[in-house]
Symmetry: C2
Subunit: 528 residues, 2 copies
């Protein structure tokens, strides 16, 4: 049965929390924030009343260009806290004039041609799950805006079993991609939290972080070649397993967030489906001790597929623990060979650092194990986030990465910066939890989640102050403004402090080459 | 005891083959090429008579700027076949006017300032081991040339044991780098064939391929941050274990071959020294069968540290086999845990593909095992190459990478293209051997070595024709013009066919940002 995509919040209308579930969530949250939250009703289609589009599509492409309010409202924002709040505020002022849904690459070319002709801005749109303002039009730009939705480019076009690679269209969403690969016994095995409503092209354009907690953390390493369309024509790299010929061209498009072209397809390195698994969980009294154990695993060369440390609060909030201890989740998997010996060695390493890794069992095939259940809960979390926003709360995440030498002090600093900033805007008491999403030999990626009572009519300014304070602290203390959420518009202040100044100029110059009119996602990553 | 760097050939004068060794080499080669080669005496310093430099260094930097003939001759070329032939021809017409050896980064800045002022070309020079014309001045450029030798920036400046990372100056050569890390129990474990006379900065600028035959094949993955000096000022990225903030800035400098700045230092991810090893060798009657076994290993997720397939000829020429069978060398290593189980699984996989992997024993510490002996021979091979060139032979290598679906036909095509091209230029009979240097899940990097009798006074034009034919075939059949030797000047024709056309424009634009005068290594990678 076809489901309906929400035009104001996460995912599908049919998947949202029921009124009963929201009630229970409110009960659970009340003691944490010292108040019983009140519910704001989300908008419905009939309330929409957008201004008329400023442009109309040429007849050749008009059949797949939508101008109805629901399509335009649904392409106004991504899915960040800020986006949902603006949706609840019925504020769709920034709606694109037209939502183009090209059926193929030639259609994407036609959209760019039209946009160049009428000097319109083009915002590439995959699954629309950006949480950094990556898919909304520029706020201070007079030009009309076309949201170019790649959703119809949703096929696996070719599978090369010998090289274990597949040519995949950029607009395919996670579940359909996996369905199409499964029939070949293959998987991309990329499970960002946005999996259900994010696309291959979006993952590539934002250097998405996936399932693997170590080694191949970002999707970057799985890219063989990329095809993109730009206002100056096609940009296409060659399928190669490895090369040392100049700077890697793919790496310029990876993370380019739509400013250097619209990715239409890619040859991706895919994987045989895993057959062997082993996993365990360890408890730590101190978060720092758990981090040292995670570091040992990250430096061991065992490359666990999962190596996630949840602090006690995070464990409590997500239902993984009782809030008294910090949890380290460790897992191994392989399509080729048993991984029990890896788990045994991991158990020794964790013990060396004061933890006891208890095996959680291992299963021989996909889908019916604890990891899959956790993944289900993980993927459903954004629906709960929407409910919390409807309940009037502040609910935001900050994710970053930092080297181990700075790690413990860094986490303390970011945690206290968030607490202080929330208190300063009157959003107290606040819950700030932390987990490590990815672990490297030289550092880790801490991910902070904030829940606090919001000011009824001032959540956006509260958000802006807290976000700004945390971004400044991250930059000052040696982290990155984003490990895998991307930069978009919301992380620009931190990004501008982080990237080499000359690199920003080089990026601008690279953009001028392919987009001399500056029509592609202006204001994201850089200003021209 | 200090050794003397050769100004015309590989490495150190003291390490070259003795006259007796050269005689024995000539005896071994004679039956292969059907002629007894004659010896050309290499040049000596007293023969040099270079034109006077066209510029002289300002007094502030003059103390470390050399203008003597030996220094200038020694910085005229890299160490390719073509370079050695030109050296034997006593042709040092392209010598730089000045060899600057700045003592620190401020000195590098001073060199660039001076060069900008007098409109001189600056060629960054690390160990000088380029085999692609990467360190010689532009042939059709009237400007004076300064070779900027980073050799005095040779220190490990800082070690972060917690993050297992080190801040290292770009000019340090392989052996000194490893010596400095060894006292900390660490290693970069990067062993290109040029190890003895190549530098960290050179490895970064050329995306050098190292010791690991799978997984971390290029040095790219070990880079935390880079510092470079450009005519527009400093370019410095932030130490991060991972990030998703825009296109990775490091990836623009990696492979930039000196055209986007002079790398002065980098924070590198280093490794604990390996404690556990296991290795084996399998024989195959058909090269293709060995490749299928290598593919199975490459796709297994076992990530062997060595996985090198030598064809029968390669095995014979290098002394690893008797020339009747093809050899697959497999090894595992770890600083953390025994790897015998990995070798056992590899043995099963090889058996599945018709090979028998015989264990070669494993040792508990570094330096005294077969792999180390092989490495010694491998690192000494370029000295033998020089002797072959002195003996009047053509001796060249072609290295590339291609996906598995094209692999077998591709190798046959390149092999026959090389044979045909050699025959067409009268360089017959020729020996063309092949090995796989690196293995990926989706493809492999074949490396071809050519030995043939050269025309006494026409080896350079023979070389140009053969090189051109092979490059064209590689481009046509879906390979890369270089897997790890870099592009330089010699691979430009193939590179120009391979990289996306718009990417070349973007690279030019990125160069103009940091080098508006076009003084940095002009003509390498791109033309302005």
């Amino acid at each position: 049965m076809a489901r309906t995509r929400s035009f104001w919040g996460w995912g599908y209308d049919e998947e949202r929390l029921t009124r009963d579930e929201i009630g229970r969530l409110a009960e659970r949250v009340a003691p944490l924030i010292g108040a019983h939250p009140a519910y704001v009703e989300p908008p419905v289609a009939a309330e929409l009343d957008l201004p008329a589009p400023r442009i109309s599509a040429p007849t050749s492409i008009a059949p797949w260009c939508a101008v109805d309010d629901v399509a335009r409202a649904g392409h106004t924002y991504g899915k960040s806290f800020r986006d949902v709040v603006r949706g609840l505020d019925r504020d769709f002022r920034g709606a694109p004039d037209v939502v183009a849904r090209p059926p193929d690459e030639a259609g994407v070319v036609a959209v760019l041609d039209w946009a160049s002709e009428v000097d319109a801005v083009v915002v590439p749109y995959g699954g629309g799950s950006s949480v950094v303002g990556g898919v909304e039009g520029p706020p201070d730009d007079e030009r009309p805006v076309i949201s170019c939705d790649l959703g119809r480019l949703d096929r696996v076009l070719e599978v090369d079993q010998t090289s274990r690679a597949a040519r995949i269209q950029a607009g395919v969403l996670g579940p359909s991609l996996e369905d199409q690969l499964r029939v070949h016994g293959l998987t991309l095995r990329h499970y960002p939290q946005s999996f259900e409503v994010s696309s291959l092209g979006g993952w590539l354009a934002t250097r998405s972080g996936g399932h693997f907690a170590t080694l191949h953390t970002h999707l970057d390493e799985f890219v063989e070649s990329i095809r993109a369309v730009t206002p100056r024509g096609e940009w296409a790299s060659r399928r190669l397993p490895g090369s040392g010929a100049g700077p890697d061209p793919n790496r310029l498009l990876l993370g380019s967030e739509g400013i250097l072209g619209i990715i239409t397809e890619a040859w991706m390195r895919v994987l045989s489906r895993p057959k062997f698994r082993a996993s365990g969980v360890a408890r730590f009294d101190a978060f720092g001790a758990g981090a040292v154990a995670a570091r040992a695993l990250g430096q061991s060369g065992l490359w666990p597929s999962n190596c996630r440390l949840l602090d006690a609060t995070e464990a409590l909030v997500t239902g993984a623990g009782d809030g008294t201890t910090h949890l380290l989740l460790v897992a191994f998997e392989s399509s080729d060979h048993p991984v029990d010996a890896d788990l045994a060695r991991a158990t020794e390493l964790v013990a060396d650092h004061g933890g006891t890794l208890s095996a959680r069992g291992h299963v021989a095939h996909d889908g019916d194990d604890e990891a899959a259940r956790w993944r289900g809960a993980f993927l459903r979390a954004p629906y709960a986030r929407d409910a919390l926003v409807c309940l009037g709360l502040l609910n935001e995440t900050f994710e970053t990465a930092v080297t181990w030498d700075r790690f413990e002090e860094f986490v303390d600093t970011i945690r206290s910066t968030a607490h202080d900033a929330l208190r300063d805007v009157g959003a107290a008491p606040a819950v700030v939890s932390c987990r490590l999403t990815h672990v490297y030999p030289d550092g880790a990626a801490p991910y902070f989640t904030v829940i606090a009572p919001g000011a009824p009519s001032g959540r956006l300014s509260q958000w802006a102050q807290v976000k700004g304070a945390v971004m400044a602290a991250i930059a000052e203390h040696g982290g990155t403004v984003t490990h895998h959420h991307a930069v978009g518009r919301d992380h620009r202040a931190g990004y501008d402090l982080e990237r080499p100044a000359l690199f920003a100029e080089q990026l601008r110059a690279a953009k001028r080459v392919v987009d001399p009119g500056g029509i592609l996602n202006p204001g994201v990553l850089i200003d021209l």
